[in-house]
């Protein structure tokens, strides 16, 4: 887990980045603190051609169908000189309300791909549901599949490739999680605090409720 601003590693429950102090409030200050209503495929930059939209939507739909908990959102837009695509993605997934995504699917289950054709950069952000299952390297693998297409300006082809590869990675992670859920749980569960440890040791010396009842009956 890395900070969107300083790209340094942060711990599991950091309220702010221990290196640069970044929080969502900083992003709010830059992009706005209000909720944003957008559709899951928003092409603000206008990079998708007429026939491209159905193909991209079909690829998004495929992931939604195979992974009923998840949804995919794509945003293309020019972020300007001052904006950082990493911070923007982080902010957008936290502040947006996707109009065409069912309400039972919160943004925690979302995967957002942001493309800025002006600065020629793309990024991927995912919600807390996928936090234990996706690594930064996985997202880089997906994005690098589209690199050749995006260089040529074939954005839809690139997006389809990204989603296809993402589909494969998610299938693999899902199977791994079914086999060994503890492995992934360990990634997100907070390490035991000293107080918890002492409490558990003491609890081991105390009689269980059943034993206590038995002793009371004897008396």
């Amino acid at each position: 887990m890395k900070c969107p601003r300083c790209v340094q590693r942060i711990h599991r429950a950091a309220a702010s980045c221990p290196h640069c102090g970044f929080t969502l409030a900083d992003a709010d200050a830059r992009f706005g603190a209000e909720e944003v209503h957008i559709r899951s495929l928003t092409d603000s930059a206008g990079i998708l051609r007429r026939g491209d939209r159905p193909r991209v939507e079909a690829a998004m739909e495929k992931i939604t169908r195979r992974f009923p908990q998840l949804f995919v959102a794509i945003y293309t837009g020019s972020l300007g000189e001052v904006a950082n695509i990493r911070q923007f993605g982080f902010w957008l997934l936290n502040r947006s309300a996707f109009e065409d995504v069912p309400v039972q699917k919160p943004n925690e289950a979302g995967i957002l791909i942001t493309i800025d054709p002006e600065s020629k950069a793309a990024g991927m952000v995912f919600g807390y549901l996928l936090d234990p299952f996706l690594e930064e390297s996985d997202t880089f693998d997906c994005l690098s599949r589209a690199h050749a297409y995006w260089l040529e300006g074939r954005y839809a082809d690139g997006i389809v490739r990204v989603l296809h590869h993402l589909d494969g990675i998610l299938c693999k992670r899902s199977r791994q999680a079914r086999r060994d859920p503890e492995h992934f749980q360990r990634k997100v569960v907070l390490p035991a605090q000293m107080g918890d440890l002492v409490r558990r040791i003491r609890a081991g010396h105390h009689p269980s409720p059943e034993e206590q009842e038995t002793e009371e009956v004897r008396r």
């Binding site: 640069c20 929080t23 992974f67 919600g127 880089f140 749980q185 997100v188």
Partner: protein, 339 residues
């Protein structure tokens, strides 16, 4: 312009007619000829005269070759004696117990055993049995015996069979009959071809016992093709190749037949297995396409004040076609990049 083609045609025809005229032959001038005769030699005089060539040897007298004896002339076999009456019941009284019928003992015991074992093997491998009556090369079946009637009586019931009257040492006299159950399915032409090819194979050898062996092997192969015809399959065009390979000897042919039969038997199970495998593969693929994947939901502490997400993934730049994607992975902190 319109007379041009006619003019060209006329010129062409005239030129052709002129070319077709033969030039006149050269003639001697009297003086030149006299000079050459005086020298004693005229070029070409030998070829152009009808005089006998000097010093030519006389024609040799034709060689005196002994005339062939009547017995040595092919096809001059005179079927003399009829089969002795004492053997007739063993031949024609009942349906034969063995596939090889030789009551006269024309085959020596070793050959008899080998041929019988081959016929037994054929019967175990084929649905059409092969019964062979061995008769002497110069013998005749008595006219009282009516072969067709006998075959109808003995071979109407039971497994289909091909019955061969084989004349030992004279395979060209052999006759083949089919049991009534398959006569309609296998044409007379096919029967004739089977017999002809078997006789041809037999004639590759000179010894009667070897001829008999070759005959049986080829007949067995042809029966295999009849069997295929019965099963509704067209006789394959590869028949000649089978005939050709039959010359490699009894063991090889038997092995070939066995392999063909094995391949034929294994074809259907193999096809079924392959089909089942493809179906299973398709079904597996279909299941995988329809599969729904779920992730276990764990309690995750929010980070950086984000209520829904803080899983910041990779950022990639696609500004340069010269650099690989890995080199364009954006890992630069915001404040450094802006500086």
């Amino acid at each position: 312009m319109k007379f041009l083609p006619a003019t060209l045609a006329a010129v062409f025809l005239t030129a052709t007619a002129t070319a077709l005229e033969e030039p006149a032959l050269p003639t001697w001038h009297g003086k030149e000829r006299a000079e050459l005769e005086a020298k004693g030699w005229i070029p070409g005089a030998l070829l152009l005269s009808h005089d006998p060539i000097p010093d030519e040897p006389a024609k040799p007298e034709p060689l005196q070759v002994e005339q062939p004896k009547p017995g040595e002339i092919a096809g001059d076999l005179k079927p003399s004696p009829e089969i002795a009456e004492k053997f007739l019941p063993a031949y024609f009284a009942e349906r034969p117990k063995n596939f090889l019928v030789d009551p006269q003992g024309l085959l020596n015991p070793s050959d008899y055993r080998d041929r019988l074992s081959f016929l037994n093997y054929h019967a175990s491998d084929s649905s059409i049995d092969l019964f062979v009556y061995v008769i002497g090369g110069d013998q005749e079946i008595p006219s009282a015996v009516r072969e067709e009637e006998m075959i109808e009586r003995f071979f109407t019931e039971g497994r289909p069979a091909a019955i061969v009257y084989y004349y030992l040492g004279a395979p060209q006299r052999s006759v083949v009959y089919l049991s009534p159950s398959i006569t309609t399915s296998v044409s007379a032409a096919e029967q004739r071809r089977a017999l002809e090819s078997s006789v041809m194979q037999a004639f590759e050898k000179t010894k009667p016992s070897e001829q008999f062996e070759k005959f049986l092997v080829q007949m067995s192969i042809r029966i295999y093709w009849m069997e295929r015809m019965l099963a509704g399959e067209t006789a394959a065009a590869s028949t000649p190749s089978i005939i050709a390979t039959a010359g490699a000897g009894h063991a090889k042919s038997a092995k070939l037949i066995w392999l063909q039969a094995l391949a034929l038997k294994a074809l259907i199970p193999a096809t079924i297995l392959f089909g089942a495998f493809l179906t299973a593969l398709g079904f597996h693929h279909w299941l995988r396409l329809r599969a729904r994947y779920r992730f276990p939901e764990f309690e995750v502490e929010p980070r950086l004040g984000g209520a829904h997400a803080a899983g910041v993934g990779a950022v990639i730049s696609f500004a340069s076609a010269a650099l690989p994607p890995a080199s364009q992975r954006d890992q630069v902190p915001d404040y450094l990049r802006r500086a």
